[in-house]
Assembly symmetry: C2
Homo-oligomer: 370 residues x 2
Amino acid sequence: MKKGVVNPWEVKGDVDYRKLMEEFGISPLKELPDVFNKEILFRRKIVFAHRDIQKILEAAKNKKKFVVMTGLMPTGKFHIGHMTVIKQLVFWQSIGAKLYIAVADLEAYNTRGQSLEEGRKIAIEEYVSNYLALGLKEKNCEIYFQSQRSKDAKKANAFYRLQNLLARYVTFNEFKAVYGEITPGKMLSSLLQGSDMLHPQLPEFEGTCPVLVPVGIDQDPHLRLARDISKRIKNPKFTQLSSTYNIFAPGLKGGKMSASDPLSYVSPTDSEKEVENKIKKYAFSGGQATIAEHRKKGGNPDIDVSFQYLKMFFEPDDEKLQQIYSAYKSGELLTSELKEILIEKITNFLKKHQQEKQKAKKQVDKFILK
Amino acid sequence: MKKGVVNPWEVKGDVDYRKLMEEFGISPLKELPDVFNKEILFRRKIVFAHRDIQKILEAAKNKKKFVVMTGLMPTGKFHIGHMTVIKQLVFWQSIGAKLYIAVADLEAYNTRGQSLEEGRKIAIEEYVSNYLALGLKEKNCEIYFQSQRSKDAKKANAFYRLQNLLARYVTFNEFKAVYGEITPGKMLSSLLQGSDMLHPQLPEFEGTCPVLVPVGIDQDPHLRLARDISKRIKNPKFTQLSSTYNIFAPGLKGGKMSASDPLSYVSPTDSEKEVENKIKKYAFSGGQATIAEHRKKGGNPDIDVSFQYLKMFFEPDDEKLQQIYSAYKSGELLTSELKEILIEKITNFLKKHQQEKQKAKKQVDKFILK
């Protein structure tokens, strides 16, 4: 093996994760309890860093209350890039977390001009039903719309009251540092997001307890702002937010996966034909230009999108993944063959997922604003 | 009578009301239905101007639904300056208005650093119980705290949702034009105030209907901002806000009445001794320096604070008021005598008011957030 060759668990990508981590006091995620190895996102360091995760681990270990909170933007289509967070949620739920999931319909209204009706439709049809199909359970899980926090008036009042109270503890310059150009709509959205993250600890909800927010590293500025605000508030006293950071699933053609570009992702709602076509035609390859060259020089699995998808989502068997990695690297496995492996895996996944989604659809209504 | 001498109903004061009115399209209030003459604030043009009052008058005449909305800042002490609005509310209620009264506790928190607990206490003890003593009825009247809009979750969600939605329809420059230096706390307060004024028309509340906001002329920028925002919103479609404008009760020593300076006002919670002392010692006089000079030149009732208080609040008999006006102007009535008239009137008022307030205290709890 050449010097500098890395194993498939190494953190990669265009983002300089290491620099970001040093700059903002985020720590590499290591020495997790055994149970975390069940979930490949942890085992393979797709979730690679954290801030203040200790109190979450402690709460989980001691069967104390803790919350895992995330939001979803109800625009565009659900795609496999979203699965990094959902699979974490399902995992956290399995080890005792209470989940809070905010549908950011007011943010979509104020920052993207999308109506609340449209947001509601997309949230249910695209997101929540896929979450359920991916294993999210109704128990210990609150999904709510920002525009309609609760059917319990005490909770509704408390949630929005907090949004308003937070305004006292933040300056315009802080908003500008996070958002660049700031509009009233963006500011309200930011404060509402602050309430999303902090309100689980209000007495009307769970009371003071550790709250974990799993995010992509690009979301950290929001989290830092929420942490800064929360530590300035004396009453109620919030336990400081914890966070985990995952690397992004690369877009099909390399680069970013974007919900507004269907050729940049694979979606659980794509048909088998679409998936096959997308992967064969567009999936960015780490292989060589010709078969002869590939056999001679080998491929580069670390930049190959098909391999990344296998690693992040579709090949749970570590040994098999390592075999694929080595075979591709050595030139033994061709790009077309690697793509066939992925297509078969996704096709199987899709069959199961679409069945689960049919079942989930019946569940959705009682789940939302129950 | 000299040229330029005015009658006691004329609008006076340091504020250039006429200029303000022309500049912002506010019209003089005239030709009100007879029933308005019951209330001296209208009869004597203390309420002197309006914007779009026609639709309110029409609704009242046709027994259609209409709302009169106001807010109270739960800081400092209740004083007679506040009575200009309360007496209007009581009048509007008597001719069929539904009243909405917002306790601006979140605004006090965000712009004055006052706790919600303190705001609640002051609102109840200083304001609401005095409102009731002044004749406000429980029927057709909603008093709510900004921090806790409703015990009905649908209403609570709708109220705060509107605050968030409004953010899309306003720019920072507009806030700056109204507030000068703007902070996140001020901005949230302004949007919450917008929701205070507009939410009565939401389907969860009264539905589309005319809403009147009685204000002092200094509050008009807030109203203009709310009107500008409301006309940009297509769904729901709001009936444009109406407003009335009253002149300010002058401070005891002349100038502004300020809740933070007890010597600038008379309060219904002052003792009789305090009132007597304050008026004798501090009430700004339109009289001459010596009795001889006063007899010769006469006094100026138009700048005399005691006379203004009689006119605005304490002498309901127009004929008697005119007599006092003429007698003071001619020099027949001395300042000390004018003050005695006011002291006697206020003393009688206080006796009745304090009894009513005792009764009101028992009512307050069921009134608030019923």
